[in-house]
């Protein structure tokens, strides 16, 4: 049972502020993913939760108890490291039994020399052996029980690390990019494994990753961090459908959300002359906004006479089940995607294959109802929290 609350956490290393005033509440049983590019402070945040690093300011609260001054051990957490951090001199079985054996240590067992014997004696006791056997069969490690970590593959090592975390039955699991050293296939496999463990244990998981696929597939909640500042804290679906700002819009999704400049007159946006239906609540006088559309919310056709944005097909990426089409919009439309979109291309996702070829002229039709609107200066989503109905846009500032 652990409800995790973080209150105004800040961390600075010397002159660099790594985390700015971070607050979040995580209910028991949630799977929180801290997502961000490298250097975003996500690992530091996890280490602060674990007690491996001290916060410069702020409180870490487990179940209404401030744990700032407690050691990792006292916090009753399990930590899975990116580098696995197995004990190389112990067998798989001894590695998994290690935390349980240490649970039984009394003060004098820590005397050097005594501790070595005590670990062996406790580690091979019957009930610990039983627990080790059940956890290792759950993670399919039985046949490697007597091997040392050096003789295992990366995926097996990470499974041992998971087993070592699992056997303690901690109140919370903290995982620091546990899959990033593995190849794609193993990653997908272990992703499923971790989700299964989460369901099985019903414990709180906090998971750090830079991989949006891991975040989207595993999380019940995602926190997106950028330079130590929270960009958005929401469910994966929410983040995908209603990114809080242009950073999130560009960070999530592959290819990411297309961002274009749209002119607004009397609350009605227009994309390069193409008038879009006015979003219900976007009561904006006159000005420009940044309009965001996911690749799947654009359609492309070779029909040049129909309504839409004129452009030229530049790239075709056939992924099998669907095809990504990169279209360069007619510069005369003034969509100004500079810096925002890679190669200045509008990416369109289409199911199946396309007959279009690179170099073909084409027309792109946006699905206006799915568009997100961002402040063109601050990049914030104009629908603010976006908790209303699908197209429910709140009045913009100014």
């Amino acid at each position: 049972m652990a409800k995790l609350s973080l209150r105004n956490i800040s961390k600075r290393f010397g002159d660099t502020q790594v985390i700015h005033d971070f607050s979040a509440d995580v209910d028991n049983g949630e799977f929180l993913v801290l997502l961000g590019a490298s250097g975003s402070g996500k690992s530091t945040l996890l280490r602060i939760i674990a007690g491996l690093t001290d916060a410069s300011a702020g409180d870490v609260i487990f179940d209404n108890l401030r744990v700032n001054r407690q050691s990792p051990r006292e916090r009753d957490i399990a930590f899975v490291f990116q580098s696995y951090a197995l004990y190389p001199h112990l067998t798989v079985r001894e590695n998994i039994a290690f935390p349980l054996a240490l649970d039984r240590f009394k003060g004098w067992h820590h005397i050097p020399g005594v501790s070595t014997v005590a670990r062996r004696v406790f580690g091979s006791s019957k009930d610990i052996a039983k627990q080790v056997a059940s956890v290792s069969s759950m993670l399919e490690l039985d046949e490697y029980a007597n091997r040392k970590p050096g003789g295992l593959s990366g995926g097996q090592r990470q499974r041992v690390a998971l087993a070592r975390a699992l056997i303690r039955n901690p109140s919370m699991f903290l995982l620091d990019e546990p899959l990033s050293n593995l190849d794609a296939k193993l990653r997908a496999e272990l992703r499923g494994e971790i989700v299964r463990l989460h369901r099985l244990t019903g414990k709180t998981f906090v998971y750090v990753t830079h991989d949006q696929v891991e975040a989207m597939t595993m999380a019940t909640q995602i926190v997106i961090l950028h330079n130590g500042i929270v960009q958005q804290h929401a469910t994966p679906q929410e983040i995908y459908a209603r990114p809080a700002n242009t950073y999130v819009a560009r960070f999530i999704g592959s290819p990411p959300m297309n961002l274009m400049t749209a002119a607004v007159t009397g609350g009605q946006p227009a994309l390069g002359g193409l008038r879009l239906p006015a979003p219900e609540a976007l009561r904006l006088g006159t000005g420009t906004v940044t309009l965001g559309l996911r690749p799947e919310h654009l359609t492309v056709s070779a029909d040049l006479d129909g309504p839409g944005l004129a452009g030229t097909v530049r790239r075709i990426e056939d992924l099998g089940a669907d095809t990504l089409i990169g279209v360069q919009p007619d510069p005369a439309l003034g969509l100004n995607m500079w810096e925002l979109n890679q190669d200045d291309l509008l990416w369109i996702r289409q199911t199946g294959q396309t007959r279009l070829m690179a170099g073909d002229p084409c027309t792109v039709m946006p699905e206006a109802r799915m568009a997100s609107y961002f402040d063109s200066d601050t990049g914030q989503n104009l629908a603010s929290a976006g908790k209303d109905s699908d197209a429910g846009m709140l009045p913009a500032r100014g």
Binding site: A50, L52, S71, P72, R73, I77, A78, F79, F81, S83, Y84, A85, L86, Y87, P88, H89, F98, P99, L102, D103, F105, H110, I111, P112, G113, S115, T116, R119, K148, P149, G150, G151, L152, G154, R157, R164, R168, N181
Partner: protein
């Protein structure tokens, strides 16, 4: 892997190359054995000649040319030698002194090496440098001040004092060896142990020490031989004949007017053996690389 893109046929060549162990491909097997034999001869001959001399008689040594083959039948004469001087007593003293030096020095070195490797503290750089600086001063320079110090502390004429002095000279090297070994251990392993419930002492004894065992063994060899071979301090500090280590006892064979070469060699042989055995015991540890596979890499 370049083989991935290569067509199947040209694969044969690199495969064949890989069958040979790296580094060996420059010499054929007989050539390697010949070189080994030369090395064994080079380093083993002095030992052999020691035995040969020990089994010769004075008249042979000073009169005619010494024979190539040892007179094995004189092996029994070793007994006379052992009876005439307390050589086993001296050897025991040597074991106590060398063993004590090694043990004490390693305990200090592991603790100091860990601190120098993992902690940030004021004067860390200076501490590391001072440890090195002790190696710049020759023992002979310090023997008189230490003698005076030990005299006032009542540490003369005892093995405890000698061990203490030896540790002061050998420990710095061990500290640096062990600091280097701990530097190479990923910090995450220690953090994992902390999460699993180890206080620092237990991290050191249960996790770190087994991982740096090869380096500890290497440091042990250096310390043991330093303690075993040490002469100057022992000769100066210990006057009582029964407390002499073998190194001092051995020197007592060399008389002012008469040196019985065969007795010296017989004693030297006995002096060499325990050290040789110690080395054989620990050398496996030195060679084994225990850290393989701890973290990715």
């Amino acid at each position: 892997m370049t083989t991935k893109e290569a067509p199947p046929l040209p694969e044969a060549a690199p495969h064949k190359r890989r069958l040979k162990a790296p580094g060996n491909r420059n010499f054929s097997k007989p050539a390697r054995y010949a070189m080994l034999a030369a090395l064994v001869l080079f380093s083993g001959f002095p030992l052999y000649w020691m035995l040969n001399t020990a089994l010769s008689q004075d008249s042979e040594l000073y009169g005619q040319a010494q024979g190539w083959w040892p007179h094995w039948e004189r092996l029994a004469d070793f007994g006379d030698l052992i009876g005439s001087v307390p050589i086993f007593k001296w050897l025991t003293n040597s074991v106590v002194i060398a063993g004590g030096t090694t043990l004490l020095s390693l305990i200090f070195a592991v603790l100091a090496g860990y601190a120098l490797s993992r902690f940030k503290f004021y004067g860390k750089g200076a501490a590391g440098f001072l440890l090195f600086a002790t190696q710049m001063l020759p023992e002979a320079l310090l023997v008189v001040p230490i003698y005076a110090l030990f005299a006032s502390l009542g540490l003369l004429n005892g093995m405890g004092g000698l061990i203490l002095a030896n540790v002061a000279f050998t420990m710095p090297v061990s500290v640096w060896i062990i600091k280097g070994a701990i530097d190479a251990i990923p910090y995450e392993i220690e953090e994992a142990a902390a999460v699993d419930g180890c206080p620092r002492v237990t991290i050191l004894s249960l996790v770190l020490t087994p991982l740096i065992l090869p380096s500890i063994a290497a440091a042990a060899v250096i310390n043991f031989f330093d303690g075993w071979n040490e002469f100057l301090l022992a000769k100066t500090f210990i006057a009582e004949r029964d407390l002499w280590p073998a190194s001092v006892g051995l020197a007592s064979f060399i008389g002012q007017y008469l040196t019985s070469l065969n007795s010296v060699m017989a004693a030297a042989l006995l002096f060499t053996l325990p050290a040789l055995i110690f080395f054989l015991l620990v050398q496996r540890r030195i060679v084994s690389g225990l850290t393989a596979g701890s973290v990715k890499g």
